[in-house]
Amino acid sequence: MRLRRFIDIAVDSILKNKMRSMLTMLGIIIGVGAVMMMVAVGQGAKSQIRQSINGLGTNLIVVTPGASREGGVSRGAGTFNRLTVQDAEAIKRESLLLSGVSPVILAPTQAVGGKGNWRTMVRGVSTDYATIRDWNVSEGRLFDAEDLRGMRKVAVIGATVAKDLFPNQDPVGQNLRLRDVPFKIIGVLQSKGQTGMGNDQDDVILAPYTTVQTRLAGHQFIGQIVGSTPNPQDIPAAEQEVRGIMRERHKLAPYEADDFTVRDQTDIMQAAEGTTDVMTLLLAAIASISLLVGGIGIMNIMLVSVTERTREIGVRMAIGARGSDVLSQFLIESIVLSVIGGAFGVAVGFGGAEVIARLTGWSTAIAPAMVGLAMGFSATVGIFFGYYPARKAAQLNPIEALRYE
């Protein structure tokens, strides 16, 4: 009952000074809006990365060359590359838990055929790759063990490559020159779309790793080995198994560290999310500065308001307001100001996130909890920066306040 009256008084006083209230709120609006936008961008990036990592296929294990460093992130660069096709074949042969294993040899290549040129990435993989990545063809077929063994010059192309080189025609059966080597297109992959980072997953050509190794890459080393288990529960055991096989193949003594890194999807996810979390935090921290400035704006205006209304405070005290009544009145006024500002700020945040999404093509996401958090934070700013002026008002001597000119 008393609270309702104080809120009435606060709203009343805010409405009586519309312009000043608006300007005071502007600081909070901008602050909350900026924080919301930054978090929206960060969260959007995070959810896209998660999506695209999930899109890699479930129950995935990735072996990369080089020892692991902090957070399971490999610093492969600079480390001597010691992953070979034979490693992949050994894992395939010896692992009991992995249902599929494939080396991945990356060869950036100019593809010539159909309408012209297309610079893309050729991926030399085994027949297991499609299963591991949960990827199938929309037309034609995938290459089989025969193609692999015979080092046949066959290729399965991604939807983007198909669209660019063979618009309005069936690419299956057509020829494609990769580094002047003629390949026959036997299939077109289903479209997977973009990853969170804006990479087109369909801009790819798959070919037997045997062929890629001999015809295109020209060396023995491979970028990574991928594998998958039938069940997610088997992943930790499979990782241990793969480590054992690799250590044995690389003849590592017990005191020697791994010269390769085995990661599962969770590790990859964590590494990526850790990065986006740090980014989000950083952006939000920078944006928070404007919220802080907004809070100081509220304090400033409340101090002016207390001084300006000294007489009013004196009158209220003379007719029976206690110090706590005056404190509540001004505190509630600053909370109401900042919460209304926060509400507008949330709206600005949503709008701004949408605009950013449109302009940049990034995805943005605002979790419903963020709205509550923003409102709570605004109220806190109101309490924090409103307390000092309110206390100043409450401690006024009524006689002096009444005499104030």
Binding site: I9, R316, A318, R322, G323, I399, L402
Partner: protein, 257 residues
């Protein structure tokens, strides 16, 4: 201890401002009895201690020494919150400068004291505020803001605000100080009318002409009561300048010098 019909029973009130060498003895032992339903004026030159006494009687300030019994209860020595509650319940203030809240309607201004009521009783504050405004003859100005009212009307709103809690007494410090003669008379007439209805009124003024409207006048000089006497109060009904000159005191209640 105190008679039941005494609204104010103050003994030996002193007030000292400042400390050390710069002490100011604003009140130096003031005794005051006010009966329920009385109307009295406190007079004195500027600096004689009128406002200081008002502030103490109005529980805005505490005496340095002395006993103050308001409406049967001792109020000297109470803390800030207790004093605020007593002001809310027992006192109605009328100030020289009206002190209405700007951009706030007459009705909302008058309702204000009821919003700070802590007695817990159920109050229809709007209805009480309306009644109070009608009592001061402003039933048709309830939705007007102070800026839309004349000085006299503003002071009547302030009187309604003082009345609305049905206080034990109304304290008015120079209530006509900002008003012209004609309006002053109207306001004083209103006080007389309210007093006739049983409201206890204490007027503070430095003008004998104003004090003359009260049937009892107390005079302060340098923080001491120098005179406290009953008069035949000038009546507002006699607005002609000849009538109602203050007459000689008929009864000296206190002999002080």
């Amino acid at each position: 201890m105190s008679e039941p019909d005494l609204v104010i029973d103050a003994k030996e009130l002193t007030k000292v401002y400042g400390t050390g060498g710069s002490e100011v003895h604003a009140l130096r032992g003031v005794d005051l009895d006010v009966r329920r339903g009385e109307m009295m004026a406190i007079m004195g030159a500027s600096g004689s201690g009128k406002s200081t006494l008002m502030n103490i009687l109005g529980c805005l300030d505490q005496p340095t020494d002395g006993v103050y019994v308001l409406n049967g209860a001792r109020v000297d020595g109470l803390d800030r919150d207790q004093l605020a509650d007593i002001r809310n319940r027992e006192i109605g203030f009328v100030f020289q400068g009206f002190n209405l809240l700007a951009r706030t309607t007459a009705l909302d201004n008058v309702e204000l004291p009821l919003l700070y009521d802590r007695s817990g009783r159920k109050l229809d504050s709007k209805a009480l505020a309306r009644d109070a405004l009608e009592r001061v003859g402003l039933g048709d100005r309830m939705d007007h803001q102070p800026s839309e009212l004349s000085g006299g009307q503003q002071q009547r709103v302030a009187i309604a605000r003082a009345l609305v809690t049905n206080p034990t007494l109304i304290l008015a410090d120079e209530p006509t100080g900002n008003l012209d003669t004609h309006t002053s008379v109207e306001v004083l007439a209103l006080f007389q009318e309210l007093n006739a209805q049983g409201v206890t009124v204490l007027l503070v003024t430095h003008e004998p002409d104003i004090a003359a409207y009260a049937p009892r006048i107390m005079e302060l000089r340098d923080g001491l009561v120098v005179r406290d006497h009953a008069t035949v109060a000038r009546q507002h009904a006699v607005l002609d300048p000849g009538g109602g000159e203050p007459v000689e005191p008929v009864e000296s209640l206190k002999a002080t010098s």
